[in-house]
Symmetry: D2
Subunit: 350 residues, 4 copies
Amino acid sequence: MTRIPVTILGATGVVGQRFVRRLVDHPLFEIQHLAASDRSTGKKYEDACAWRLDGAPHRGLGGERLRAAHPNEALSQVVFSALDSGPAAEIEPLFALGGALVFSNASAFRMAADVPLLVPEANADHLGLIEAQRNARGWKGAIVCNPNCTATVLVMGLAPLHEAFGIERVSMTSMQAISGAGYPGVPSLDILGNVVPFIRNEEEKVEEETPKMLGRFTNGAVEAAAFAISAMCHRVPVIEGHSEAVSVTLRGNPSAGAVAEVFRAWRGDARVSALHSAPEAPLRFHSAEDRPQARLDVEEDGGMSVHVGRVRPCALLGIKFFLLGHNTERGAAGASVLNAELAHALGYLG
Amino acid sequence: MTRIPVTILGATGVVGQRFVRRLVDHPLFEIQHLAASDRSTGKKYEDACAWRLDGAPHRGLGGERLRAAHPNEALSQVVFSALDSGPAAEIEPLFALGGALVFSNASAFRMAADVPLLVPEANADHLGLIEAQRNARGWKGAIVCNPNCTATVLVMGLAPLHEAFGIERVSMTSMQAISGAGYPGVPSLDILGNVVPFIRNEEEKVEEETPKMLGRFTNGAVEAAAFAISAMCHRVPVIEGHSEAVSVTLRGNPSAGAVAEVFRAWRGDARVSALHSAPEAPLRFHSAEDRPQARLDVEEDGGMSVHVGRVRPCALLGIKFFLLGHNTERGAAGASVLNAELAHALGYLG
Amino acid sequence: MTRIPVTILGATGVVGQRFVRRLVDHPLFEIQHLAASDRSTGKKYEDACAWRLDGAPHRGLGGERLRAAHPNEALSQVVFSALDSGPAAEIEPLFALGGALVFSNASAFRMAADVPLLVPEANADHLGLIEAQRNARGWKGAIVCNPNCTATVLVMGLAPLHEAFGIERVSMTSMQAISGAGYPGVPSLDILGNVVPFIRNEEEKVEEETPKMLGRFTNGAVEAAAFAISAMCHRVPVIEGHSEAVSVTLRGNPSAGAVAEVFRAWRGDARVSALHSAPEAPLRFHSAEDRPQARLDVEEDGGMSVHVGRVRPCALLGIKFFLLGHNTERGAAGASVLNAELAHALGYLG
Amino acid sequence: MTRIPVTILGATGVVGQRFVRRLVDHPLFEIQHLAASDRSTGKKYEDACAWRLDGAPHRGLGGERLRAAHPNEALSQVVFSALDSGPAAEIEPLFALGGALVFSNASAFRMAADVPLLVPEANADHLGLIEAQRNARGWKGAIVCNPNCTATVLVMGLAPLHEAFGIERVSMTSMQAISGAGYPGVPSLDILGNVVPFIRNEEEKVEEETPKMLGRFTNGAVEAAAFAISAMCHRVPVIEGHSEAVSVTLRGNPSAGAVAEVFRAWRGDARVSALHSAPEAPLRFHSAEDRPQARLDVEEDGGMSVHVGRVRPCALLGIKFFLLGHNTERGAAGASVLNAELAHALGYLG
């Protein structure tokens, strides 16, 4: 089968490198263009990109010439965007206008009413927004976003509960890995042996993206879920993996046992589990009293499953539990690729 | 002035060493006996105690002989106990029976109805329980406890709000330092680059001790405060300093600005601020958006002040903020010493 | 083909777990017995063993009953020993007497003149000591040791230079991972944000084992290499991977370029490269000025290759370079398994 | 007594902040000007400088206006320079020409033959180069440098041995703190749980500065010491404190005991010990087998003493030992201030 040609925007950054690693041997997609900022255009990938991942640098693409991040130079049928939010706001629409389906890791369009904000296991039908988006914007292509990494992990934990019971209130406190800030990112003097109680815009993103993702797609639009939500976000000296302490109020006040059973049984949207990048099960349930743990569990399933444990009663809200997810795979590069695989499976790639 | 002779029980452990460091030059107290477990009895302090604190080891007491932890061997008018909970349950009453005022860092008697659980700035009047305790138990002495370290930090943040507004609901997520587990304590393989979502009994202690501490002393007894409280406790790779993300519902729903003003202005019980170990102000208010931070702030005031910052609205409970406190000073050794100073000031040391 | 039954002694510890992980799907060996200390005998593996590795706990052997570490209970043709040195001194000879070929990770017999101390790529012919050992001790089986983890990494870096030039002087300063001390091992209070300049017996082991390993097997005995060697060993807050800064004087004073070329070209003993656990190349040469690095490189090749970089002139001894190796795979479990594969290939397993 | 007015160049960086902290209450010096790069000129210190040290930010100088780093704007009798090497090469001579005695932490002029490279306890007489410098350059002022932080610690350990025995060969392997790279400095993704075997230009600086510092001042010039030296430098996840594993060959091959005795007894140049910033003893000798340790020992004496331990025979070079020093106090800000105090004591400040 001919693979679908793809472009990676922002290929030199840490998320861009993860796109390269995921796509270089992908059964469905084939890397056609690597694109980067003007400063790097024309350079070899290996000269412009200090490889930060373990394993072989540049995955055999070190000799590729970087192209400008513009459809004249780097248009493909599918585009994966690892751009920062500012450039994404300008560049991604150009590719969508040019006909590409853009799978974006940036925050620029996440909250636009006509842009799908996907966690495939939870809201695959939100892809239906593409039609509204094309109508409204006159694009041949479209933009599909994956959410903020912290919000992604949270939604993976909330989705089964929202389906089974209905969520009324959510309180989430995060302990986030340094990789979430990119490279060079967090200075070591700030985080070694420390907790930093502030990540710019992070709490806002979690609080606004989560209800959209858990909203219903109906009449061609997404109606955000109606629960109250509060997030407190912190940086901790962990390399990979966002940890989240969550309390929820659920409709009908189910017991901790009933909630645990829902977590154990959840498989998410059936159309997702067969996708190439989908984990065997989207949630891994831990019964050990001190798990999951970032250093021990986060790389399981290539970082694509989310871990849940410590399900117990909460004297305040009803139920509390602990989540762990891979912020740069399930929360970034892997998420976009899974979104593209879903779009393909649902017929959006022609 | 003649200083009051004191005994340190459990002098070889990390908290015991902090007692030694605080008391060796104390204006009010003079170390009379160092006591330890049977295994160490009769040994020189420097031979039985691997000094873990920075600065000069054993603070000049390296040649002292360790005594058995029994009133026949080591009775003083004042006793500071750094014992574990099991031994404390047996040994502390013997000293209280023998006439000593025992200031205990152990959990054994904290929740006994007739034992004061003190955070002096917040509930100095709970010392009045001593009378009930002596009557009930027939002791000449008494036991006075300081709370769990995590609960201590929390109460320092809640007390001004409870006084000013009244607390209705509390949600607290902790990120706790490794020093809280003593030595050898947390294996490095468990915590380096990791978050551990479980500390045995910690959530229970916070949830039960906090309402007792913020309760009213009336008619010779303490009536626990009536708010709902939920705690989620985590270990992080920080050496010293417990961080706590807190959300509260306050009576009358004051604004974040009003809450910040209360934090800034709070000085606690006026009888405490003149005590030798009391910080200049019990709470240090931070207006920088990314403070307080364990590594930068925790040693301020010898670790005796608690830090508060990031006061902001909470879409779920009303107000959220961030606390930081020194778990082995304000949360352990320093707390007991401050309790003893208070007892002296209020006339309980004869 | 029928696989050879094997016993794992010390199966519950961290190295024992790595043995289990390496052997559970091994093409040549099949786990017959898991043995542990008396305290655990008869228990299920999953009840006696807190799994410390990532991935699925107990690798499907959680239900196995642990046997006593005695040939009456747990004899197999091949025995892998993850015992501590004290028990190893007593127990390993019983299995060798019983006919087993014991591949030991313990230090007990490493320096015995008739015991092979193997790094297969460097000294496969030392296996010839087995004959002398059997004659001298009257054993049907034999003991084969792998070296101290720090010495293993060093020998992998020195062997190609000793072959190509001859080594005259070696100075080695190590920066060692916490995993080398087992579990619970290094207390986090000792190592977080710290360097500890002492590891008991480590410098002595490196200084005595290295010349034996690089010695010549001749007339049925090993004649230790004659170079002078000095080791300085330190613990650093790294999870996996021993780093070593090495200076050497080589015969003929070759240039840094010539030394780098030797490193690049070295493949070690040709009989080793085809073995199941052997890496594609035993040494990975890094030309980047800041590599290898423990966190980025140590897991390459399942931890079985050793990394070398920063080859440059040394104004004092001649040449200096930097080594990195996986202390619990190439330096422990993987090493023993590779030794057993070599013994099989050379006909020592009948 | 009127204090001597001083300027701090580069006042907003981490070393500049340490200058502020050391000088704000100094008995001899009084801060007259804070100077910074053009970008910050005219701003309030608190607006231009994100305070990175613990304790009160800006030490009461937050309202000071920053001046341009030029003698027209910021000349004082004494200038402390925390500039980077590039700007230092241009700016420091302007102040020296203008009449200031410039105490520089930069590397720009360290190896100039007429510039003193001071470690006061070891080579106070090198200050005599000032005369040659003024003659050669026609300056009324002069530049006095403190060495690279790693070289400083090494010289503190070598000086007593060079005095007592004479040094013939030196091998040094460093494990350096992240604070040595300034702020933002080392990205956390590079160093958390890692060892980085490369610090640009560091090995070269140690190898060339050390012999100059231990050289003899004779006939108005410094003759570098003649020993061979090799340095291998590494970054480790330590916040403050450079650790150094050192091997030396000494004339006459003294025993480890004799060397330890020299370390214990050494007090350095008698004119230094009375200076305000001088530690009680320049070297602190540790007899515990696992000390000194960065986290436990580095802040002793305000970071101005250097720690030595683990003195033992080296099978290769003769003697080996372990050093620890505070890289941003003894190795930077504190060093410059001590140099200035020495210059005052020896009459160079008029």
